[in-house]
Symmetry: C2
Subunit: 457 residues, 2 copies
């Protein structure tokens, strides 16, 4: 029998799965800035959001409670793939010759291969009990859309997904998965909405963008009382739902008899990063253990490392409220990176606030370097990371290699938020020498920043 | 805390993972027929196989030992994804309104998404310790090739995969995954072998077949002492390695306080079926509990239900020894089913022997019916089964629906051998009304059977 020291993975028993999510708002030294109505310039309240979201989610969005109970029906579904394993990357450590201990939480065991169902299932549940008949949402590469489609199938809600046109055309598999769950999928911009028709009228050949797809999904929810909207990242309640990742990690690190010096996640809208990091940051804020926390973004879409901390729209159509966040400007269209989930102009306001507070660091890495390290990871550990996840893998490996240089025996934990089985084209392009690092799109970002709404709250 | 009765999945602790594989040869009432040399018509011995396989695997092939120890280095790698979860399909049971209890073993949590690494890792290990520098193998859809590529990456062996040309052209993602692991991949038939060049000379536009790819891989191994050949199914040692699936299930059913009345697996070459079924059949043969065991094959490639039990070649090039098995004839080319892993003219000789002994049943199901039920499964349980696996899912659901009719509370266990994330096209075609059930290819099978080698041993 292998000794404890040789253990490869740490799995919580099903009956030790967390029963409550963690809401970091309760532990903040200063609260995050309010959400602003773009018309009035004034903070918005829960009723303003009622056309889009069920009240239970709105109350979670503004909650100051540290713990929010996970409904039993949601926990029952979570048990399909949760608790997720925590791995010790022993073969990778050996390959890197590092004295560092590398752990990764693996969220790819969910039926759709990523962490996204953690919030999709919760959002579908609250919509169901408040009588929602149809859920609209957007998706880029499709991780979020397929999660929402699955959650809607479980709770018997119709699901309508606006999928960025270029992904709709280029990623038939994610589309096919959503259809297998029974969802309706529209290439965005579409003929289904006023905003979509307007964009198509002006630019019939547009490849679409996440910002446009959000505008279409929001428009449909805002104009039909039986229809609500779901968002897969950015918002506080999404971050809270994803906290189950880090809460499990805390228990699993206890099983391993260890505690991380560094916690790493990739960040597009911020949800998988928040999921693994917020519970550890919360402990730090409560004086229960210091930890260095690193959010990783692509060098070509660097909202945290090169953007402005300002009020901005979440979508291209400027239909959403304004939130203070690190943003490249809502009119910025990121380069066609393979990491579609990281191609977002903004960042979760809560993640942004923590960056301003100095609780976390942000770093960026170019695309080619990312895949070079991610592929090395794959050859050691077997798992092929999703292109987004590859950014976290790469920085974790970089930190471990630094330990090899200095001799420090740091404990590194990162979130392996999803597998790349739907995204192999990225690795094909990498191995075919067809990947570009993209130049830093400085001028485009400057132009988009000049269009930021003039709000100072 | 949920009660035991509400548990969704059963996970063995890592330190309770089986330490030995199970070899069913030890429990057979009569031994399986010998393997025959096609030239001499006489049984072959271990030395005849030495050009192709390391001696440790050859000795496993002919072993009569009930238990074969899993080397520690193999167990260390297994821990990357093993023990795999056993699920109770509560939402599916509810959707079907059945009093049956449905359990499924999920092998899709392995890094490549299927059960195939269970034997790939073992084969790579034994090759490594006997000094093999290059491993050749064949792959159809790519489940096996990607597993072998991963195993070779772990044990630092060069891997050369002959991939059926039509899959090479149509399934770039599996190819991309193999390349990410560092394997060389050739479309088969290729210019790399005499057999490949011969076929290309005669039929330059051939789509290839698994039988041809086997011939190419075998030819390279037979002609280079540093190169060995690995096969992903059919052979006894492969069935033995896969027994870890069923061995884990036996322990997990104990955790659930239950025991299966019916065990179900899909069968192409037979390895995932053997994996889940052989340990239960062994218990039955030893008088430790009766169980009905069902092997499921596609109606359009029905080796067990419509083939002959006869000596036949394993490959198209007629380079392999002859084994007695249920076969459609090695010259039969199956219709282009989506379940590429079930498109094989023969069947594992050991599975065939058990069918002759009456220890198992075989049944078949047409393609469209398969996907109809598999998609219903997906909407209830979230997991999208691989097209091969879908055959087992469909028959398990059929049995459960029969229980709904009769009121019987049977316990049904099936092997969910792999996820379908690389095979979504099958579901797209199903939902697009483009799937055919294919007519039973009776005339083609009759023609192939007339070409069976005239051996009677």
């Amino acid at each position: 029998m292998p000794s404890d020291e040789e253990q490869t993975k740490y799995i919580l028993p099903e009956d030790q799965m967390p029963t409550h999510w963690y809401n970091i708002a309760a532990d903040l030294p200063t609260p995050a800035p309010p959400v602003i109505h773009p018309g009035t310039g004034q903070p918005i309240g829960p009723p303003d959001l009622a056309p889009l979201f069920p009240m239970a989610l709105i109350m979670q969005e503004v909650s100051q409670d540290r713990e929010i109970e996970i409904p039993e029906a949601v926990r029952e579904v979570y048990k399909q793939w949760r608790p997720c394993p925590l791995f010790r990357a022993r073969r990778l450590e050996k390959a890197l010759g590092t004295p560092a201990k590398i752990y990764y939480k693996y969220e790819g065991t969910s039926p759709v291969g990523s962490h996204k169902p953690n919030t999709a299932v919760a959002q579908a549940y609250y919509n169901k009990i408040e009588g929602t008949k149809v859920i609209t949402t957007e998706t880029g590469a499709g991780q979020w859309g397929s999660s929402m489609a699955m959650a809607c199938a479980f709770f018997d809600i119709a699901c309508r997904v606006f999928m960025v046109r270029i992904s709709f055309d280029q990623k038939p598999y994610r589309k096919g998965l959503m259809q297998a769950f029974g969802a309706e999928i529209y290439a965005s911009p579409s003929e289904e909405t006023n905003f979509g028709r307007q964009v198509l009228g002006e630019t019939p050949d547009t490849p679409g963008s996440l910002g446009m797809a959000i505008s279409e999904a929001v428009e449909q929810a805002a104009t039909d009382p039986d229809t609500k909207y779901c968002l897969g990242s950015v918002l506080n309640h999404v971050m809270t739902h994803q906290s189950i990742i880090g809460l499990e990690c805390i228990e699993q690190m206890k099983m391993a008899g260890d505690y991380p010096d560094i916690v790493i996640g990739c960040a597009g809208g911020g949800s998988n990063f928040a999921g693994i990091a917020f519970p550890f940051i919360g402990k730090m804020l409560r004086g229960e253990g210091d930890v260095r926390v690193i959010a990783v973004e692509p060098a070509a879409c660097p909202s945290m490392t090169r953007g402005t901390y300002a009020f901005d729209f979440g979508d291209t159509g400027m239909m959403t409220p304004l939130t203070k966040m690190h943003t490249l400007g809502s009119s910025f269209i990121p380069p066609p990176l393979h990491a579609g989930g990281l191609r977002y102009h903004g960042m979760s306001p809560m993640v942004s606030h923590l960056l301003e507070l100095g609780c976390i660091e942000a770093t960026s890495i170019p695309q080619v370097d990312t895949f070079e390290l991610a592929q090395q990871f794959t050859r050691a550990e077997g798992i092929l990371p999703a292109p987004e996840t590859a950014h976290a893998v790469a920085i974790a490996m970089t930190e471990a290699m630094e330990c090899a240089r200095t001799g420090e025996e740091k404990t590194i934990l990162f979130n392996l938020s999803g597998h790349g089985h739907f995204d192999v084209q990225a690795y094909i392009d990498f191995n075919g020498g067809k990947l570009s690092n993209y130049e830093y799109p400085g001028e485009l970002i400057e132009a988009a920043q000049r269009k930021l709404p003039p709000v100072d709250a």
